[in-house]
């Protein structure tokens, strides 16, 4: 009797997800191995041998990697500072970091169009102070995508790291110092290693997020394609659903491979064992 009750609670949700998510995803993956009634890996061969596709892959990986590294380098010190503040100030800064995170990605990317455009704020200020004599072409380049993506994901890594750093026992730092370590050594030997799990989770979120983000590259990348805008282009504009499914499968595989290996790394590097 109790078992039936349990199934009744879970069944509607499971059925709904199976019907509207699991089957569509699994069938999309399966469809890539099947064309005109027979087994094929033609789609993948086409993808892996075409210079244009490979260039898009490379751009996507580059943009995501730079975004992730920048987010870590900028986010880590900021998170450390925030984690040391009193509860009131910490709360305010966390709220200010969470607010952009909850704000529409269209709004956030659009704000960079105003800043980076040919007649945008950046160019007009640089021209006005005479640093440049003709406007920089930043908007619609990979650089613009990176700036937009860093803006998109920096709050994520900051709040993740603050969450981890808050839980580091301040006595550890004091102990290290009383044993003769300088403040900086103590920071490197105590705070950094203990933040590694948070750093890895944060990096996964940022890397996978940038790898699969659509709105920001679509608005700031112009004609420059990344894998997600390329998927959209094939699915909607070019109507090549087979290739779009291949791209979708590749995106799923990359996502899960990254998550899997980063998780392995996290368990390995976790100082608590």
């Amino acid at each position: 009797m109790r078992k039936t009750g349990l199934y009744l609670l879970l069944l509607p949700g499971v059925l709904f997800l199976t019907l509207f998510m699991v089957i569509p995803i699994v069938m999309t993956i399966a469809s890539t191995f099947y064309q005109d009634g027979s087994f094929t890996i033609q789609g993948y061969l086409q993808f892996l041998t075409d210079a244009y596709f490979l260039k898009i892959m490379l751009t996507t990986l580059q943009v995501s990697l730079v975004t992730t590294i920048a987010c870590i380098l900028i986010g880590f010190p900021a998170a450390y500072y925030i984690s040391k503040l009193g509860p009131r100030k910490k709360g305010i800064l966390l709220a200010l970091a969470i607010f952009p995170l909850l704000t529409s990605s269209v709004v956030r990317s659009f704000s960079w169009m105003i800043i980076l455009g040919k007649k945008g704020l950046l160019n007009s200020s640089l021209l006005a102070i005479g640093l440049i004599d003709k406007p920089l072409e930043i908007l619609y380049t990979p650089t613009a995508m990176m700036i937009g993506l860093i803006h998109l994901f920096l709050p994520l890594i900051i709040i993740t790291l603050v969450g981890v750093m808050e839980n580091i026992d301040p006595d550890l730092l004091k102990a290290a110092e009383s044993l003769g370590a300088s403040k900086l050594t103590a920071f490197w030997k105590v705070i950094v290693p203990l933040s590694v799990p948070g750093l890895i989770i944060g990096s996964i979120l940022v890397f996978v997020g940038s790898l699969t983000a659509y709105t920001t590259p679509a608005l700031l990348g112009g004609k420059q394609r990344v894998i997600s805008t390329f998927l959209y282009q094939n699915a909607i504009t070019l109507n090549d659903w087979h290739l779009a499914s291949v791209i979708a499968t590749i995106m799923i595989v990359i996502t899960f491979v990254v998550i899997y290996f980063m998780n392995k790394l996290a368990t390995k590097l976790n100082p608590k064992g």
């Binding site: 879970l10 569509p24 995803i25 900021a78 704000t103 709004v107 704000s111 790898l211 959209y232 979708a248």
Partner: protein
């Protein structure tokens, strides 16, 4: 150390300038009286705010977005509350796998999910676009609903439930009269978090547009492709006000720790 702290404080202020500056700039430009976006604006006018209400597509897509996010939210609650309850209350075989399935919509890239849904929900299952949009957003919201409510239930003392049961109340009655009131703030927070996720979604909605059907974010994307007037800036300000209000309520209900814990 004092020196280093001051350096770090300055660095952190610059980080926040980078994060919030663009949002402040966009707010200023929304008051531009001319027809080209500029910063700083050349005057002050409500003209572009009025324009939002004059462009019919913004009003229609706003209504669609509201409808999909609210009704999808309700569906996600009906599916999610029982599941979250079962997953937090009982131990059973296969619990890990079920947990995984319920959380998986956040692991699959949004753009992949949107495409797969277009392929199967719209084309193979032959659902109308409006229904597909609703289904897609329900799937999108479900993991957020389950995660927030499960974390709310993990703070609930199930001994209270046992007490009610042992005093003769039925299971269903106990759930509605004892469990539900105790996790009320968690449920409201779940509704708001899921609403924001759905209302701002682009990745799924971008595949679910058709004659006369589109959501507000997609309409904004389309508008930006062809126009560079301050209307989008004005909508952005309204959306940011909405976001700030919802975030304030979430903070009151359960603090901001939901966002920092992972």
């Amino acid at each position: 150390m004092q020196e280093k702290n001051r350096g770090l404080a300055l660095f952190t202020s610059l980080v926040f300038l980078f994060l919030l500056g663009p949002l402040i700039i966009i707010s200023f430009t929304s008051f531009e009286p001319g027809s080209v976006l500029k910063f700083p604006p050349e005057g002050f006018s409500w003209r572009w705010y009025e324009n939002i209400f004059e462009v019919e597509m913004f009003m229609t897509t706003f209504k669609t977005s509201m409808f999909v996010s609210l009704l999808g939210n309700l569906l996600a609650l009906l599916l999610g509350i029982p599941a979250a309850y079962a997953l937090s209350r009982f131990d059973f075989r296969g619990k890990g796998i079920l947990n995984g399935i319920f959380i998986s919509p956040v692991l699959i890239p949004g753009i992949v999910m949107g495409f797969a849904m277009l392929k199967y929900v719209i084309v193979v299952y032959n659902l109308p676009i409006y229904a597909g949009l609703l289904v897609g957003h329900t799937v999108l919201m479900l993991p957020f609903i389950i995660r927030v409510i499960a974390s709310s239930l993990s703070n609930f003392d199930f001994a209270i439930e046992e007490a009610a049961l042992s005093l003769g109340a039925g299971r269903l009655e106990t759930f509605f009269k004892v469990v539900l009131p105790n996790i009320r703030s968690g449920i409201i927070a779940a509704i708001l978090i899921a609403f924001l996720e759905s209302f701002n979604n682009v990745d799924i909605s971008v595949f679910m547009t058709g004659p006369g059907v589109s959501t507000l974010p997609i309409q904004m994307l389309t508008y930006v492709e062809n126009n560079f007037d301050p209307t989008i800036a004005a909508i952005s300000v309204l959306l940011m006000i909405l976001t700030a209000i919802l975030m304030f309520i979430i903070e009151r209900l359960m603090g901001l720790s939901y966002f920092t814990k992972r």
